[in-house]
Amino acid sequence: MASETGAEVVIVGTGVIGAVIAEQLLDEGHSVLMIEAGPRVSRAEIVENFRNVPLGAKGDTSASYPPRPWAPHPVADDKPEDQYLQLTGPDSYAQTFVRYAGGSTWHWAGTCWRLTPDDMRLRSLYGVGRDWPFDYDTLEPFYVRTEHKLGICGPSDPAMQWPARRSAPYPMEALPFSPGEQRFTEVVKTLGYNNIPVAQARNSGIPYDGRPSCCANNNCVPVCPIGAKYDAATSLARLERKGANILVDSVVYKVETNARNKIEAIHYYDQHKQAHRVTGKLFVLACNGLENPKLLLMSADDRNPNGVANSSDQVGRNMMDHPQLTLTVTTREPFWSGVGPVVNSGIIETSQGAFRSEYAGAYFRYNNFGRSRFVTFAALKKGLIGKALDEEIRRMTACTADIVAAHEILPDPNNRLTLSDKKDWLGLPKPAIHYDVGDYVRKSSEVYSLPIGKRIAEAMGAIDLKISPKFSQSKHIMGGTIMGEDPGSSVVDVDCRAHDHENLFIPGGGAMPSTACGNSTITMTALAIKAADAIARQMRGV
């Protein structure tokens, strides 16, 4: 059994990566201690937080997850001097991860696009970015396991699958399209594009893994009120039944190495600023691509002067996301989004092609959020009242839509996380991130993605089109502990094991050498399961 001071395997973080690895190791009979910086809060409370948020603030996912003083995370309405992330550069690497038990899958949409074989060979095929150290067929079985572990629904028709190269069916059929998605699908078909069902970690029509089926609250972001969408919080009680010890409100601030440069212990502060030390045989950092590099850099010692796992100087570099632009379309005819989950389909084929030697691929998403909360303020600003106001809200709810163009980005060592001299409540350095989406992305928006987006808007019968002036982030943190075969240019190996420390694993988005255009969680989780297999072998001494 895991105690509060040690276990065979110590996992920092209780999000999807930590939870998936913990369960596999528990099933193999190992003791597991999980350490979470933030609080453990009931779904009921988060749901009611959301419902109590004023309409104008509901778009801010963090509003339903107020951070604890000791575990700050980005909050939209913070004053500049209070902000957790210290952001510099031409583009803003603004994120919305939460430091709560269960992690940021609490408020993900559940979208699960696999990478394609080409997505993993950008350098070989197009001379840009980095190749993965293994191919798609190596990753594929871990995708299948992820799909079954998280309960990912997707189409059974190969023509609707992305990519069609897969070794097993989805455990559940895809969800049906909303009226707006059906119409959008027909419209883009006239342009030659296929809007296909998105695979998503959501129970479609049947219960799965002890969770109910989706009942279409259209509330996936910021919280699924009924647990129909997978989030790691749904698995924590099960992990505890299997013997996991979960410490919350415990902020890890140091990874301690020993004379052989293996990890000896980790140190954390409790919410009373008391320091504690935890030992183990093997350590997993599962705090995703922003907190992981921050912790590694904070842990610099005499043997590792640039930070733990950082002999390559790549820790904190290559920060990536999916830079996105939103096209807000007003149409004459009603589309009606909002039935079903908030993201339910997409045009992903536009992410592929020989053009990627020059500019980024893009993925187009018809957002299926119910529109009323977005349009109500615009209707109020028009000075309408009574029935006229109701009618205008109804019209704009039906006749407006957001088309999001999400781009891939290349790993750039100058897109870098460092330790700020600003300190948080515990006195720990805040993360500073310099970010520039780069010419590869900008050129795509100029010659490729926005032109496509405008043609789609026109085909939808747009009478008005507004395009976001700047790239925003998709909140898909990738790259900060990049994977590769060469210890000189990468942080972790093919199993997300630190090149520098044989008993330290750093799985998740940070390891991804390329982003492609689809949301990162399914690939992060596939890497986590791959890492779990490696950890299990290592624990058995194989």
């Binding site: 409370e45 749901v47 049947i206 009942c215």
Partner: protein
Amino acid sequence: MKIARRIALTASLTFGALASSMANADDFSPELIERGSYLATASDCIACHTGPGGKPMAGGLPIVSPVGTIVSTNITPSKPFGIGSYTETQFANAVRKGVRADGTNLYPAMPYTSYSVMRDEDIQALYAYFMKGVKPVEESPSETRLPFPMNIRALMMGWNLVFRNDKRLAEDRRKSVEWNRGRYLVEGAAHCGVCHTPRGFFMQEKTDRYLSGSQVGSWYAPDITSDKMTGIGTWTQEDLVTYLRTGRILSKALAAGSMAEAISHSLSHLADADLNAIATYIRGVPSTKTAPQASAPTRFGQGKTANELSGFRGQGFANGTKGDQAGAHLYSANCASCHGYNAQGTKDGYYPSLFHNSANAGDNPSNLIAVILFGVDRETIDDHVFMPPFGDQPNAINVLGNAEVALLANYIFKNHGNPNLKVTPEDVQVIREGGPRSNLLAVARIGMGTGAVLILLLTTFAWFVSRSIFKRRLL
């Protein structure tokens, strides 16, 4: 845990000599095997004889009882581990008399006193199915190890002598063929009275209260007589058939607990003719009320749409769940996402309304508390209704304490059901622990039936003996 329905039925018994011509197992026709498969479904064998996540009929389900845990056995045709070496006579004796091939007695957790009404030709069909239609599973579940004296299976011989009813179910020629078929199924394979008929001091079914409602562990099996107020006398034939097939009658009633199990495994798979036969018989069961009743609403039409959102919205979760609006706030946080902010449910009834819902009316609060704590899992041919639990299960959507469940239940009773029902946190704890505590009742509920008193006497005796042994050892 299958506790509730596994009670020995002390109804009529119609075994005698089996048909003299015992067929060779290889001679069974596909039609006979198919009919046996159907009868096995009607008898719900699979519910108990399949372990959690296990192979069909391979046993291994722990049936928890106050006298210890009984583990169901492998009844696949495996010779070393199952019943593959049973002759048809041995099989018949096990199913109808509770006697194994080796002559030892089964515990009445196996409802052989119910199955005893089954006719020879049906027993033969069952035998054919179990020998030829079930895949052998070459593994043995763990042995049942009850504490002394319950581990002495021979005790059951005495129990059988005293309590086994050896009366054949005679055809009632005044009634229709359909009615007689219904009675055969209801009293035999489907054994409805096991749950729905209240029991007397000796755990016998009170025949004068036949099907008039009884507590079954955490749940309450309601009055299903034709009483128009307390029973289901207002239901049409179609209502009842639909309910048995789907577990759901819009704006009336929904099956949960052991009734959901019965519908999932058994009733939803029965032929329309048999469901109609069951309904015809059940609908003819007279009310057990002797005195005229004052007019009162049935448990099907009570409550209305309502919400108290304005009382707490904007206060925050911690504050809102403290004051007078606590129940309403708990409803909003835990229930409204599926059942609607007005408890209106969905039009298709997958998410039922909480008004016009029998769980929230009537005069017994058990089912609302139980459904909150344990959820619903009911799978039929076309549908899988699943409500997650709110107890302390690993998959509980939220873990609600006794006080929270009581607040929530009282809010629902007040607004959407019978406003006279009120429960306390202590009441919730009772349901959480598996229902009202009564040794006699609890023992009977796992199938010890009318033998409970004997068993209790033996237990008491054994307790004195073991105490004296213990004392001697101390000395």
